[in-house]
């Protein structure tokens, strides 16, 4: 093929920052305007976090920062340096699914699965704060996440099942 039209790279300064991603310390260089979503997906190859609008409208890019679910598409990566970030890739521990993941898989709460990581992150933050949520508390917590496949009902049921199983496992530990 012919030579590229231009071989001169554009002038783009990168900045360097460290994050604690799924419990691991990592350093990464990225363009300063990048969102946390972009840094996770493009610079750290953590493509489990999805995007649906990149304008904060759909909840698909939800991740957990220091225990709080946030929309990573609206988060400027540079301002989250040294923070503790959890993504869907870190949910399964020691080769076993998190009870939420297991319940989503079992009950068909993931149809196309594209919104699933965002729902899992939001639901996990909910259960961490409110271990036995009511149906209305679940609806409220998940109201910022859009799903076009399921009609949400199987997702509620999965969160309830996971909550029950976590509680039962906790009780078993205390026995």
């Amino acid at each position: 093929m012919s030579h590229p039209v231009s071989i001169e790279p554009p002038a783009r300064l990168k900045i360097q920052a460290a994050f604690i991603v799924n419990g691991e310390h990592c350093e990464v260089a990225f363009a300063p305007h990048k969102t946390l979503l972009e840094v996770l997906r493009e610079d750290l190859a953590l493509t489990g976090t999805k995007h649906g609008c990149e304008l904060g409208e759909c909840g698909t890019c939800t991740i957990i920062v220091d225990g709080t679910p946030i929309l990573s598409c609206l988060a400027l990566a540079a301002s989250y340096a040294n923070r503790r970030i959890d993504t869907v890739e870190g949910m399964a521990a020691d080769g076993a699914l998190h009870p939420l993941q297991d319940a989503f898989a079992e009950l068909g709460a993931a149809q196309c699965g594209y919104c699933t990581p965002g729902f899992l992150m939001t639901a996990r933050a909910l259960l961490d704060a409110t271990p036995r949520p009511s149906r209305n508390e679940i609806k409220d917590a998940l109201s910022g996440n859009l799903c076009r496949c399921t009609g949400y009902l199987k997702i509620y049921e999965a969160v309830e099942l996971a909550s029950e199983r976590i509680a039962r496992a906790g009780a078993a530990v205390h026995d």
Partner: protein, 859 residues
């Protein structure tokens, strides 16, 4: 959820181990761990990023495109315009009217004009801003009325009449004569606004060129086979050198069923640059791809007896097609095709016209062309029942099209569980104690529907199978299953694994499913028309049975037991009469491999021939029809007009659930999507006279239901096995959406006594109707009339009851204009008949019916 066996259904066949049991999908774990790779998750070394420059005008001639500044922008590797891509494409052979990049004319705001490949997305976007395009604006055609009346400018240089893309005029039987015998003839007009799929995943594609002259594209497409054809055509490459890999779709709903500009452009740019090129559309661009619900204006006139029995129906539809053909010819026919499969309509007339407008193209959204007429029909029947003082559930019950029959428009019905669906929802919802009995502001409404389990004809006429499955068995005891089908979240990969596991007596987890790869997998036509379980499922049955028979033959000689006595279950092959005599499945495959060599099999499926032979008979036939009934309960606030839906009961005749978890998921998802359509979703445009700009191409402003708007759903599955379906199964992905919109609209009437004859049923419309009613006017919001339009003369087709043969009447006085003559053999189109020579006789219909009954009868 409850499962009900319909009365008269066949007795349960041999015990099923896998089919019919709730279980996980084969890709469930990958979906909950973030492991599943969607198209935009893919990255290749030296990959470039593509951006498209899109038109900012709805209709304009392109005077000049200057890419000099963009090409010189640092980091830009290639710029492309329509000059480099001369060959048109489109999903249907009769409307190859799209170019990958517009060459002479732009036809809607968002039509792509130029493309850039650059080292990153930012550079590509900057370069798009540096492309200078000079336009000469043309008047915009912005509505159905414009499309019918404006004869210039022409949006396309083809079509049935000026800007009318397609028109249809069919009559089955003698509608006027029958109407004259009716006790009541009622006419109503309805409008269904357009709406869009809004899949959570934005369309994305990655193309890779190889120096040996081959191209590979990974794309979020529901139809890799048709994309394959389009790429080979436009790039002028041998199809065998084009590989299309459909990545898992992050939601499709019909929105990823057309070959798209961006898919062809990244292939062309990959070839031009010799580097991988990726594009991921922005959410705004997804709105421009559209192919969603056609805005449709409809008139329906029905003659009934006093007891509610239908004697004749006359249906007219006008579709706003947007700027390109897409599936529009089929969509047009679909607005008239399925009215007859739920209720017996002895005489039926259908006229439809689709116009081109300067808007993003409309196409197949879940239900494809049938939700609009279904809304009209079901609301219309509700009004008739009210006028006759009949219970609308009972009136529907008494009009059912019988099972194993042929409709007036020559559609062959097999199993028909609608009666059971009505009974189940009526009981579960306590309908009799609620309808017309709830306090003002609360109400219930009922509606029914039916949908095809796959289109009876392919888009390109040929006599090859619609779906193929290949199996590879090896000494490990593992099985690989190859099929061209595409999983869009409905679980089609899992269905293959369940069916193969059932027949080979192994577990779904033992099976590796490989799908949607045009190099590796046998052709399956795609995830559209609710065809995949029916067609790939039947192909999988055939492949698995062939493999089973081969293995059984090897085992039989080894054990000295007749093959017919061997059973495959629990990962073993053993003698039915002595379970101890047998071996593991892996050992059995080893025996077969030793005896026959490499063990593999193929299976394929072609739908049965339809009895319709008239022009237009190509749309509507299906191997089997699913049936649904919905009852919605609503609360209407008379102060605000806001409609809340606390609960919907939905019974769906699925024939046989392959996995009830997935079927219920499809029902709940359909209720959700239908609720969005009736309550809020609309794809509308501002400044219709000039700019035709999308009102709200964003997820925030295009309102869709959140957890707070979603209703409670009680699903009832009716298992009335259809002899055509795999294990008796029928579709579930689209049918259950159809009754939701009219059930809610009918419930609004029950609640507050006003009719909103439009979708969506927005608060301001309810409020307006309520205020009108208080002023003594008709409590109704909706269109008053349909445009006067000169349809072509009717093609008259005698019905089966009239002794017809499936063809137009011979020697009719008129013929349609525009080449729509009645000679119809081997026409190459989705909307048109493609049948072989020969007429359908009554005896043949009977024969076809008995053939279908016996075909799967042994299972």
């Amino acid at each position: 959820m409850t499962e009900v066996a319909a009365t008269g259904a066949a007795a349960p066949v041999a015990e099923l181990r896998v089919v019919g049991t709730p279980r996980r999908k084969v890709d469930a774990t990958a979906k909950v761990t973030g492991e599943l790779r969607f198209a935009d998750d893919l990255v290749l070394p030296r990959m470039l990023h593509c951006k498209l420059l899109r038109s900012r005008l709805p209709h304009a001639r392109i005077v000049r495109v200057d890419t000099t500044r963009a090409a010189a922008h640092p980091g830009v590797i290639a710029v492309m315009t329509g000059a480099e891509l001369a060959i048109p494409f489109g999903i249907l052979p009769v409307s190859q009217d799209e170019h990958a990049l517009c060459r002479d004319v732009v036809r809607f705001v968002g039509d792509p004009v130029a493309a850039v490949a650059a080292i990153d997305e930012d550079v590509a976007a900057e370069a798009c801003d540096l492309i200078d395009v000079e336009y000469e604006q043309l008047p915009a055609i912005a509505s159905i009325e414009d499309g019918l009346s404006m004869r210039e400018p022409l949006i396309h240089d083809y079509g049935d009449d000026a800007n009318v893309h397609k028109r249809v005029a069919l009559e089955f039987g003698d509608v006027d004569d029958a109407m004259a015998t009716a006790d009541l003839v009622r006419e109503d007009v309805f409008f269904y606004e357009g709406n869009t799929h809004l899949p959570m995943e934005q369309h994305a594609s990655l193309a890779q060129w190889s120096a040996d002259g081959k191209i590979t594209i990974w794309s979020s497409t529901q139809t890799p086979h048709y994309l394959h054809r389009a790429i080979a055509k436009v790039l002028e490459m041998p199809p065998a050198h084009v590989r299309v890999i459909a990545t898992p779709n992050g939601g499709g709903f019909g929105g990823k069923s057309d070959p798209f500009n961006h898919e062809i452009v990244v292939c062309a740019l990959a070839r031009k640059t010799g580097r991988p090129v990726k594009i991921c559309l922005t959410r705004e661009e997804v709105f421009y791809c559209h192919r969603g619900r056609h805005p449709t204006l409809m008139k329906i006139k029905t003659g009934v007896r006093k007891d509610g029995g239908i004697v004749a129906m006359d249906f007219t539809s006008f579709l706003d097609g947007g700027a390109y053909g897409s599936y529009g010819v089929a969509s047009t026919y679909y607005t008239g095709a399925l009215q007859t499969v739920t209720y017996k309509v002895p005489h039926y007339r259908f006229r439809g016209a689709r116009v081109f407008t300067n808007k993003p193209p409309c196409g197949p959204k879940r239900g494809h062309g049938t939700p609009q007429p279904r809304f009209a029909l079901e609301c219309h029947l509700d009004k008739i029942a009210d006028q006759l003082g009949l219970d609308p559930a009972e009136m529907r019950r008494s009009n059912l099209q019988p099972a194993n029959s042929v409709t007036a428009n020559w559609l062959r019905i097999g199993s028909m569980g609608l009666g059971a669906c009505i009974d189940a929802t009526v009981t579960k919802s306590d309908w009799k104690n609620k309808h017309r009995k709830l306090p003002f502001g609360r109400g219930v409404g009922i509606a029914c529907s039916s949908y095809i389990s796959g289109a009876g004809l392919p888009i390109y006429w040929n006599s090859m199978p619609h779906s193929g499955v290949q199996l590879k068995l090896d000494r490990s005891g593992g099985v690989a299953c190859f099929c061209g089908s595409t999983d869009i979240g409905q679980g089609s990969d899992s269905i293959l694994a369940y069916i193969v596991a059932e027949i080979l007596g192994i577990e779904p987890v033992d099976i590796r499913v490989v799908t949607g790869d045009t190099d590796l997998t046998p052709v399956d036509l795609g995830s559209y028309s609710s065809r995949v379980t029916m067609m790939s499922g039947n192909a999988a049955i055939q492949a698995a049975e062939r493999a089973r028979d081969q293995v059984a033959s090897a085992v039989a000689s080894k054990l000295g037991v007749p093959a017919s006595r061997l059973t495959f279950a629990h990962r073993r092959v053993f003698d039915l009469q002595d379970a101890e005599t047998g071996m593991s499945f892996a050992e059995a495959v080893q025996l077969a491999e030793s005896k026959f060599g490499t063990v593999g099999s193929t299976g394929s499926y072609t739908p049965p021939r339809s009895p319709g032979r008239y022009k237009g008979a190509g749309v509507g036939p299906s191997p089997a029809y699913s049936y649904s009934c919905a009852i919605a309960e609503v609360e209407v606030d008379p102060e605000t007009g806001i409609v809340r839906v606390p609960k919907i009961w939905l019974a769906h005749d699925v024939g046989q659930s392959i996995n009830p978890t997935l079927v219920i998921g499809q029902v709940e998802g359909s209720v959700y999507m239908g609720l969005g359509e009736i309550l809020m979703e609309e794809m509308t445009y501002r400044d219709k006279q000039r700019n035709v700009v999308h009102h709200h191409p964003s997820m925030l402003e295009y309102k869709s239901p959140t957890t707070w708007e979603m209703c409670d759903v009680e699903t009832i599955l009716i298992n009335d096995k259809d002899p055509q379906g795999p294990f008796g199964g029928k579709e579930a992905g689209q049918g259950p959406l159809l009754p939701v919109m009219p059930a809610v609209a009918n419930a609004v009437f029950d609640a507050v006594g006003v009719r909103v004859d439009e979708v969506p049923c927005s608060p301001h419309k309810v409020l307006r109707a309520l205020r009108d009613k208080m002023k003594g006017k008709e409590g109704r919001f909706g269109p008053g009339s349909v445009p006067e339009y000169d349809f072509p003369d009717l093609t008259r087709v005698p019905t089966p009851a009239q002794g017809g043969n499936g063809r137009e009447s011979v020697g009719r006085a008129h013929s349609e204009v525009g080449g729509d003559q009645s000679s119809v053999t081997n026409r190459d189109s989705a909307g048109n008949p493609v049948e072989q020579a020969g007429e359908t006789t009554a005896a043949e219909i009977a024969g076809l019916n008995s053939e279908r009954d016996s075909r799967r009868g042994s299972r």
